[in-house]
Amino acid sequence: MALPSKVLPGFSAALWMQSAATPTPLSTANLSVWSAQVATIVGTAAGGTGSAGVQLPVEAVPAFGMDDAVANYSVAGSRQSDKIPTQSAPTSMSITAAWNPSDSALLQIRSDAYNGTVDRTFVVSAYDGTNTVAYAFNGRVGNFQIDAQPGAEAKCNFTVHPRGNQYGWSNS
């Protein structure tokens, strides 16, 4: 996918997702299209329209992208196994958020985690007050845990697993 044609000198990052309970994720080509596609998921607070999206109240946007992957093989009787480098695997995003049981976005994430097969478009937006650069990807929620220790505010942890090759960059 082409990289965005913008450079933001300073920005705030936010995470957004499609708001529908059973969304139709954007096609791979549309993940790179800002107008009427990615912009509908990004809210007005980050330069989008937000008509089909909601913000996830995450503590911090985790690292995203991809990392190398390796396939392991071993042959019975051989002293050493073989590691075959393969093409890049998308990075799973482990996310921590303050647990608010009435937050519709977190409830939707919990519902997705229970289901396990809901594909949804997520967007990481970088906004400098005027321009937005967006990294959009399709992913599934893999786990959802609530950490309710008495000594701190309740938190929830969940992981978004991006689908391979389904990502795109765009900008406003």
Binding site: M1, A2, S27, T28, A29, N30, S32, V33, W34, S35, Q37, N138, R163, G164, N165, Q166, G168, S170
Partner: protein
């Protein structure tokens, strides 16, 4: 394949579009003409850019006869 059909196929596809584009051959003149008309921030432009990258280089011109 016609450019319009290739674009339609790729826009609807999920997965690795660059790989899918490599499996499609289109007429390069038709593709260049379509590129000139398409809006930059659109799904059509995204897949056409991939098609341009995926097309084999044009064959060299025949040697001039003397």
């Amino acid at each position: 394949m016609k450019v319009a059909d290739a674009v339609k196929t790729l826009i609807a596809a999920q997965g690795d579009l660059a790989l899918a584009a490599r499996g499609i051959q289109v007429d390069q003149k038709e593709l260049a003409a379509a590129m000139a008309k398409v809006q930059a921030d659109s799904a059509e432009a995204v897949v056409m850019r991939l098609l341009v990258k995926a097309q084999p280089p044009a064959p060299p011109p025949p040697p001039a006869e003397e």
